[in-house]
Each structure stands twice: as structure tokens, then as C-alpha cells.
Amino acid sequence: MDSIPSTTKTPIIPPLKTKHGRNAALLSIIPGFGQFYNKQFMKGIIFLILTVAFFSSFYSTLNWGFWGLFTLGTIPGVDHSVFLLVDGIIALLVALIGLLIYAVNIYDALNNGRKRDRGLSLNSVREQYHNLLDNGFPYLMISPGFLLLIFVVIFPILFVILLSFTNYDLYHSPPAKLVDWVGIQNYIDIFSLDLWRKTFFGVLGWTIVWTFGATTLQVAIGVFLAILVNQKDLKGKAIIRTFLILPWAVPAFISILIFSGMFNETFGVINNGILASLGIDTIPWMTEEMWSRVALILIQSWLGFPFIFAMTTGVLQSIPEELYEAATVDGASIWQKFRSITLPMVLFATAPIMITQYTFNFNNFNVIFLFNGGGPALPGQNAGGTDILISWIYKLTMTSAQYGKAAAITMLLSLVVVTVALWQFKRTKSFQEEDTM
């Protein structure tokens, strides 16, 4: 990347007589030699030194890591498969970074060789240096963050992916036993073993209802309240907004636990205080599947709307007043103004974040687990009435230590979330063009 010329296009391509490009690229199989061939000795030496340094410092990491990654250990009690897997992933990442530099080396030699083929002059050391500073500066700046990203984000993802292809469970736990690669056996088991498959689709159904029900409701309430509070004539906006933000300010963890008490059938304030004063009979919030689900969706709406509210309020304040004035002059009704000005503006600005709300609720473990532990229990079923996929997996794996299968189901979950998110992001205008407005 250091000497890629910014403008290599020449109007007339001269016929190629020499084959410097091919020769230089071929010689670059040993890093640096292509550059030597192009008579760029300084760069060649740097590449050569980098290569030697890479192998001398990482040889044992790579050797041990790849061996561990392939075998996952050979002697029980001495080799710790999970640690070996970790070493292996590190080796893999190091090797990838090495390959990247190697590719740059070949590309550079090829490029400069072609330049010679076309009879163009090559950059001097000084020019290369300036070139590096000018073109490479952004890369230089993001590289520490990027390296961090590799180990904080890519590394755990790789670990889960690889784990889903192992038989890691209680009976294949290091240090007593070794973990082995089992291919896609875990994925086959999830769909073929009665125990896992039976409940899977029931739980999946409720997870989808939950995701769309709870999220849509919280978004609708948030947007509605924001528009309501943003009316020009309303007095005391600051206080009203503060109150509406409060559910967000209290940690959800605590709110959910308190809600769980409030929804208690016999002692909870909802049945005893609110509903009783309205003359409504006791509702079995915690022991009837349907009512538990209703309660959960209501709670999540309460927990989630302030965020949407705050965001929408911000967007509303940035809509220019002239638009409404022009609309009034044109004789638009309030509803028309809302449909044609407010809603598109709000949705345009907030759609990406709204989508993340859906994916967030798809995996919203806290509220399900803390409210009723996924209950109430249903006869003849393995999951509770309000268990969503993530809380059900938690139960299954925590009781039987099926780490490999847990990783496999996690992969399936991520597949759903990633697909939906990507698809929606791509359809969202704000991600397509930055200057549509």
C-alpha cells in the first residue's frame, strides 16, 4: 500500500515488450526480491526484514497454534483442548496478518514492474516516503484500533464458530478429557433429536411474536409521545420530558424485578390495587402462559419507549418549521402534515436504530429471565411458556453443560439476527445514500 501510485492511468497504453511485472511478482515469492528486481532496494530490505522478523518471532506461536487447532490435543490431562483452541485462533489471526503483508509485497512488486513495462519512472525513496504519508496516513491511524477490534470482536466470534464444530460438553471437558472436532454433528442433532427439535419451533414462534409485538409497541409509543410532547403550545415540556425519560434512567434490572413483584397474582399491586379498583377480577399474570406474555410485552414497552422517545424528540426539533408553514399555505390538514412531513423525516433519521431495537429484543434475555424465569411451566414441554430462544438455550446448556451445542444454536441465532439486520439496513434509505435529502 505504500507506493501504489495515485494516478496510473495513461491515455494511451503502450504495447508491452518487457515482462517486468510478471518477473517482479514471481520473485516476490521471497519477500523483498521483487523490489530488488525493480531496484527499490530500501523497500526490498524492509520487506525482507519484516518477513524474517515475522517468522523468527511467531514461529513457535504458529507451529504450536496450528498443531493445537488441528488436533485439539493428543494427551488427556496434559493438553487442554480449549486453551489449544484459543492458541490456534491467535495463530490463525497472526497468520492472516502475515498473509496480508505478503499480499501487499507481491502486489507492490507487480505494480512497479508494470510501471517499468510501460516505461514510467519509479518513485524515489523520498517520493515513496511522501506517498506513504499521504496515502497511508488514514490506515496508519486506524491500525491500532483495527488490531484491537480483531482481538476483541473477531476473536470471540471465531471462538464460538469453531466451538460449534466440537463435541465440548461435560463428558468431553478438559483437563479430564480432550475435545474433538465433530463437523456439523451439533447442527444435525439440534434438528434430529426429539428433545431439541420438539420445543425449538414452539419457542421460535413465540420469539418472533415477542420481537415484533414488544418492539413495535415500544417504537409506536415512543414516537407517539414524542410528537405529542413536541406540540408548540404545550407548556412545561422540560418536566414532561424528564418524567417520560425516567423509565430509562432506572436500571432495567431493578425495574423488571419490581414489576415481577407487582404482577404477583395474590399479592401484587396490579391485581390488588389497580385492577380491583376497576372491578376486574384477579388475572393470573404469572401462571397463565397468555397473560405472562401480555405482561412481558407491556413491561418491555415501558422499558423501551423512553429511548425511542428521546431520539424522536431530537429529530422532531430539527425539522425546519418552513416545511409546515408551506404545507399550511398549501392547505394541508394536520394528518397530511404528519403523514408527509413528520413521519418520513423521523423514520428516515431513526430507521437504523429502530431496526437494532428489533434485534435487541430478539435476544432480550434480561426481561424474560428476571420477570418469571421463562415460566409458567407447561405440561409435557421442555421450555417455559415465555422462554425465547436465548433463555431456553441458557436453561438447556446450564443444566447439562452442552457447550458445543450451545455454540451451534448461538450460530443459528446469529444467522437469523444478522440476516434480518443486513436485509433491513440495506433497504433503509439512510444507509444507501448520504445526500438523498
Partner: protein, 430 residues
């Protein structure tokens, strides 16, 4: 063409890397073997500089005096660290053990023994019979897995009958008496007796007392294929449990995972006359200013005592220690009569040491005496890993029985079916 060429060279590079791979390490199988030999000749083991103990959170007050006397006696320094026993202890050992930072001695609830032994986190103990005889039989049984001893018991606990003396001056001797009393006391948001029998931990007292069992015990080992939760006794017990709920003696509001907090709240507010709960609840009851009495659980209608689940916390020597001999010595020291007494005095945990249980310090303490008495009728929770598959299906069955959604027989049959499927699926036969 050029791209293809670049790709090929990259492939060559990768293959080259892989070919270079291989275990260029010294053959470690030998060191494994020497390890075993070391264990056999443990008596000649050199004294280590220090031993590391992991103790439960807030319980090190009982550990400190024991450590001091151990240091004086043997001249081995002992360091300790507090970790949450229920899960942190095991998780930390899994990570720190293999990397060489693990403890020599840890404490664990006995129902985790099967699991940690399967993972080879703790090792078998070689202890003289004279030492074993100082503990109660049930507590030693709890420390055994597959017929081998893996620890020495530190403390036991089991649910007992706790009553508010203001509302119920005397504890009833039988459940029938209690039933009559509860009928009389339960009105206007006041309750006579509450037990969380939708939770299998508490419900086992009834189901076990009526003749049900989790795993059949044969020759000191538990048979995972013989699940007795739907035999006649168990179904009878389940029906008895259902009676308390269907007649409105137990409110519906205590069913489910959050019901425990509700139950404690009722008792501490003085709205509940009696409760089935463990010794861990005593302190908050005292703090709430309730004048309460404690006895063993009343006898069941069939005349049997309740077979409550007993939990045993034990001291274990980890598989990663370099001094198994001295670690075992330390475990023996921590559980000896003198240190067991100190433990009771400082933490109120009840050590299953025979002489301590008969000692006035326990017999004069109402709560401890009741726990010790109930422990005689109690059975240790099964400690085989398969037990993990029992809790949830059993809870589901009991919850549906409590809410009246299922018939006792049908619910228990379902539970056993699920348990057996789960065991077959997740625990391959050895």
C-alpha cells in the same frame, strides 16, 4: 491470470506453514506417569512452602483460626481467598487450575461433586477410617461419588419447620395437625403454613417421605436408570402437595421462581404463622424482629418423617495441587472437632461432626438442634451429574400440579419421561 497466480502462491505459503506444524515438544506422557507415582508415595512428600485455600464468601472468619493453628502445627503457610461457592468456585478452578494458578483446597456444595470429578478438577482423598468415623454417615455418603471419597464435610443444611410464636404458640407434631391449624389461621391475607412445594428442593421432603426417590441407591452408588419420581409413593406425595394448593391454603402468588421472596416477605411481616425453610433464613427473620421457634418438620400423614434434601458443603483437594498429601492433611485439620466448633460459633454453619452435634453449643441452640435432628431423616441430594436433568422437569411437574393444570400422576409420569430422555441425550452411558 495474475490474480490466480497470487492466489496460488498464497496457497503454497499456507500449505508450507501447515507442513511445518507438529508437536516438537518433549513427550509429556512420561510426566503424566510420574505424577501417578508421586501420588502413591505421597507420605514422603516434601513440605510445600504454602497452600492456597478458596473459601466461600463471608465465611473466612471460621477459616482464619484454623489456618493459624495449622501453620503453628506444621509450619506450612496457608493463604486464602473468598469466592462465591455456588458457581464462581468451580468456574474459577476450571480456568485457573490448568494454568497453574488454582488453589490446593477448595470448598464446594456436594451436588457438584459428580460434575467436577468428571471434569477431573478435584481428586480422590485417602483418609483413615478413624477420621471418617468422626462424621455422620449421611454427610460422608454425600462426599462419595462412584464409591470413592472426594472430600470431607464442612457443614450441612436442610429445610426445617419455622413458626412465628405469636401466631402459633406451639409447633404441631404431625402434618395433619398443621393442616387443621392452617385451615383455621388462613384468612384475610393471613396464612397458617407455606412451603414452596412447587420447588423440587422443598417438595422432595413430601415426595421422599411418601416413598418416592430420585435415583435408586444400589451398593452405595446411584442408579441413573432407576428414577422413582412416578412410583405410587411419589404420586401420593404429589397429590398431597396439590391438596394444599387447591384448597387455597397456599396462595397462588408463591408459585414460580420469585415466590421465595414473597414467602419470606409474608413471614417477616408477621402475616404467615409457619414456614418450611432452611437455616439460611434465620438471620433475616431475626432482623425483622420475629419471635420464632424451630423444629424438625412435622411427620407426614403416613407416619413417616419428611425426607428433606440435605446439602453438604465440603472441603476438597484439587487435581492441580502439587502437594496432595499436605492438602489432605489441611482438609482433615479444617474439619476436625475443634475447628468445626469454631465454625459453628462464628458462622452458625452446622458441621456434621458427631461430637459437635452432641455438644451443648449445638443442643442449646434451637435452630441448630432442629437442623441436626431433621438431618437424621434427610437424604443428601444426589451428586451425580445426571441430577442436573432432574430439577427442571420436576419443577415443571410440580408447578403444573400446584396450579391445577395437571393431574399428579400424569405430571409425574411426564417428568420422569423427560428426565430419562434428557439423561439419555446429554449423558452417554459409560
Amino acid at each position: 491470470m495474475k490474480k490466480l497466480f497470487t492466489l496460488v502462491t498464497m496457497m503454497i505459503m499456507v500449505v508450507g506453514l501447515l507442513a511445518a506444524c507438529g508437536p516438537d515438544r518433549e513427550e509429556p506422557a512420561k510426566s503424566g506417569k510420574t505424577n501417578d507415582k508421586e501420588k502413591e508415595t505421597a507420605t514422603e512428600e516434601a513440605k510445600p512452602e504454602k497452600l492456597v485455600v478458596w473459601e466461600d464468601v463471608d465465611k473466612s472468619v471460621a477459616l482464619k483460626p484454623a489456618i493459624e493453628s495449622f501453620e503453628k502445627e506444621y509450619g506450612i503457610k496457608v493463604e486464602f481467598k473468598e469466592l462465591n461457592m455456588a458457581d464462581k468456585m468451580r468456574d474459577q478452578l476450571r480456568l485457573d487450575g490448568p494454568s497453574g494458578n488454582g488453589a490446593d483446597v477448595v470448598t464446594l456444595p456436594h451436588d457438584q461433586i459428580g460434575q467436577v470429578v468428571t471434569e477431573a478438577l478435584i481428586q480422590e482423598l485417602k483418609v483413615d477410617d478413624s477420621v471418617l468415623n468422626t462424621f455422620t454417615d449421611a454427610s460422608i455418603k454425600a462426599q462419595k461419588y462412584d464409591g470413592k471419597l472426594y472430600g470431607l464435610p464442612k457443614a450441612t443444611e436442610t429445610p426445617v419447620f419455622i413458626y412465628n410464636k405469636k401466631l402459633m404458640p406451639e409447633a404441631p407434631a404431625t402434618m395433619d395437625d398443621l393442616y387443621a391449624k392452617a385451615k383455621e389461621l388462613t384468612k384475610d391475607k393471613q396464612y397458617g403454613f407455606i412451603a414452596k412445594w412447587d420447588d423440587f428442593y422443598f417438595a422432595h421432603g413430601v415426595i421422599g417421605g411418601m416413598g418416592g426417590y430420585v435415583f435408586k441407591e444400589t451398593d452405595g452408588a446411584l442408579d441413573r436408570d432407576d428414577v422413582g419420581l412416578n412410583n405410587d409413593g411419589a404420586v401420593e406425595g404429589a397429590a398431597y402437595i396439590q391438596k394444599w394448593y387447591s384448597e387455597g391454603l397456599f396462595p397462588k402468588g408463591i408459585i414460580g421462581d420469585s415466590g421465595g421472596a414473597t414467602r419470606d416477605g409474608l413471614f417477616n411481616e408477621g402475616k404467615l404463622a409457619s414456614v418450611m425453610n432452611g437455616p439460611w433464613a434465620f438471620q433475616s427473620m431475626k432482623d425483622a424482629g420475629i419471635d420464632f421457634g424451630v423444629t424438625a418438620m412435622p411427620t407426614l400423614p403416613n407416619g413417616e418423617h419428611m425426607k428433606t434434601f440435605m446439602g453438604v458443603k465440603g472441603w476438597h483437594v484439587t487435581a492441580f495441587t502439587k502437594s496432595p498429601y499436605w492438602s489432605t492433611k489441611l482438609v482433615e485439620w479444617l474439619t476436625n472437632e475443634e475447628n468445626a466448633k469454631i465454625r459453628f460459633e462464628t458462622t452458625k454453619e452446622i458441621p456434621p461432626v458427631k461430637t459437635v452435634i452432641e455438644d451443648p453449643i449445638i443442643t442449646s441452640d434451637e435452630g441448630a438442634k432442629a437442623v441436626a435432628e431433621q438431618s437424621q431423616y434427610a437424604v443428601p441430594m444426589p451428586n451425580i451429574p445426571e441430577m442436573g436433568e432432574v430439577w427442571d422437569p420436576a419443577k415443571i411437574a410440580l408447578e403444573t400440579i400446584a396450579t391445577g393444570k395437571a393431574d399428579p400422576k400424569e405430571a409425574m409420569d411426564n417428568a420422569v419421561k423427560t428426565i430419562k430422555t434428557n439423561i439419555e441425550t446429554n449423558h452417554p452411558a459409560k
